[in-house]
Symmetry: C2
Subunit: 366 residues, 2 copies
């Protein structure tokens, strides 16, 4: 039985799967040895038929739910949806979340030390793809003996992995839930992502990716995160949160201080090489290009699909989810598309639990 | 009679007004001597009653219409609206456009040499306000003996100057046309502008504003312009123009190449000190803060007003123009608000001449 604390539970520490033969990247590179970090919550049943894969997006890692210790300041990144009695209910399901290659949160990444050189991989780390992310999850599934996922669930970049699971491993997925995502991001999103990468790469302190150990602040990464934050929030949410308010007794706009805070926090924690690689993976992902058409991508998938989009998300707009839905219908997939009205922009999947919890729960109970 | 070439006319070269006693900035600084550059088109009638002031925005200068020589590659920045037989018809009107203080296009600016030191003003140049812009136009009006403008017209930052003319000099303005503008920009626009300024100021090559003569490329200014371009265009316009297209035979996105081109072009031409100052002037402009309420701002204005907004302009949104309209109604100003459906975003005022020309013409003929 889980140890419940506050509104969450105590989870196990992250697990490591070490691949002595290494990991084969989609573009042909191999890194060996290679460590994959993942977490699990709940109990896998004897038939191994109650496993749900949760796919993370750009910012977080494998720590999707729970706290390691009751004193932890925050719970996992999707704790609002994953937990005992929550939308993805750990009373019934065994949840797995894998930190994908390229991310800085434990799995061998650009900041990891290459045993051959004794220095971080840095600029020599491969440019990852969504295929690599799915492959790392497949390796963990095989390791755990999970032949079929009850569901594969994710939002934003996590949703891209969900779609690719259905396309690459259709017989291993009983159902999918894809939120605030895209089969290919629109050009406006590509533009914003490109600017973020240019900001990181134009920073002299980044040194082309080999900045480790210099101790210099990467202002470019901070600025890229500020751009990111602007794109994650809707104008309405910004208006409600800040308006044109100034900091007490100064002329500094509150949003200025907020952007600097978010930039500094992220810049101190996240790896710049990971940032540019993971963003590029999102932009390069294009199911239609990869499979000829969306219908082709989903042709062999016979599970059910729940697609969720949010009215004010202009980074991963509702229209794109509607396009995915059409592609699935053309492939005779049983698909439901729910578009929610919310002022919370792309961040809605991390905020609007009252909107998404019940549909997710009902979809999984069917 | 004007010399007509192609779809435009040959105009006179820019004029200079040298203020030996200098220009007094709103925040208290004075620069002396101070040169104001302006252009005029058409003929001022004997009663000096047919003068229209056109106010420019961030990027362009006083060259609003016409070509200096038939071989010029491009005509003035609002040549689609200002000309013989056009929306602002030079057959009937005398048009004045003044390059405002802080801009890099001729009027004494941050890149101008301070005769006291022999070096550019650079970081010592004042932080300008929309008040300074209006004041420079008032000085030129007095110099030309124009007691009353038939109309004051502008878009974006130009529209802010229009509104402030009505508030500061209500008896000198018979009518105003204000497009794609704001009495105070929304917080989302402040956020994007702030990021633009941070990009310029975080660039080591900017040297806090004293970068002149170093010959270094200001990558920060290029990147700021790329952010600007993303905000000027609507998602729909980007989709139509580029989609996810790649450059011939490469994996580079077309929008990548477009952004780099726009950034390099602007970065080579525009002064970084001007950029941060003019953007800050936009963010600081807040008529309600300045006059207590919008109704108070327009209380003494007895002219007519035409307000124009564009459906996909999220930098200067239609809702903000609606707020201005309400403020004017509260002040019993005769105001008309036209909101045009267009995919062209904030740039609509530079593109959608078929939409705006006739309403402008009809408004001026009344």
């Amino acid at each position: 039985m889980p140890h419940l604390v506050d509104a969450t539970f105590l989870c196990e520490p992250p697990k490591e799967l070490v691949l002595a033969d290494g990991f084969a990247f989609h573009h042909g590179e191999r890194i060996a040895p290679f460590t994959i970090v993942y977490e699990t919550y709940g109990e896998l049943n004897a038939e191994k038929s109650n496993a749900i894969l949760v796919c993370h997006a750009l910012s977080p890692g494998a720590h999707a739910a729970g706290k390691y210790a009751a004193t932890d300041a925050a719970a996992g990144w999707w704790d609002g949806l994953v937990g005992y009695g929550k939308g993805i209910d750990l009373e019934h399901h065994f949840v797995v979340c894998v930190n994908f290659p390229g991310s800085p949160w434990g799995t061998t990444g650009p900041a990891s030390v290459d045993p051959a050189t004794g220095a971080p991989y840095g600029s020599r780390y491969p440019w990852v793809t969504v295929d690599d992310m799915v492959e790392s999850q497949r390796v963990v599934a095989d390791h755990l003996g999970i032949a079929t996922w009850r569901a594969v669930v994710g939002a934003s970049l996590g949703g891209m992995q969900v779609l690719l699971w259905a396309a690459l491993h259709p017989t291993r997925v009983e159902s999918i839930i894809c939120m605030a995502s895209a089969a290919a991001v629109p050009v406006a999103t590509v533009g914003w992502h490109l600017i973020g990468r240019k900001l990181v790469q134009s920073d002299p302190a980044f040194r082309g990716g080999d900045y480790y150990g210099t101790g210099e602040t990467l202002r470019g990464l901070q600025l890229a995160r500020m751009v990111g934050h602007m794109t994650y929030l809707s104008d309405a949410a910004l208006e409600k949160k800040f308006g044109r308010q100034r900091r007490n007794g100064t002329r500094q706009f509150e949003i200025d201080s907020y952007l600097e805070y978010q930039g500094a926090k992220f810049g101190a924690a996240y790896d710049a090489n990971s940032y540019i690689r993971v963003q590029a993976a999102m932009d390069e992902f294009d199911l239609q290009e990869q499979f000829g058409s969306l219908a082709n991508a989903f042709r062999r998938f016979r599970g059910r699909a729940l697609l969720v989009s949010f009215s004010t998300d202009w980074l991963f707009p509702s229209l794109e989810t509607a396009r995915i839905s059409r592609g699935m219908r053309d492939a005779n997939v049983t698909v439901q598309h729910m578009d929610f009205e919310t002022p919370n922009g792309h961040d809605a999947f991390l905020v609007d639990y009252p909107l998404i919890s019940r549909p997710v729960r009902q979809f999984l109970e069917r």
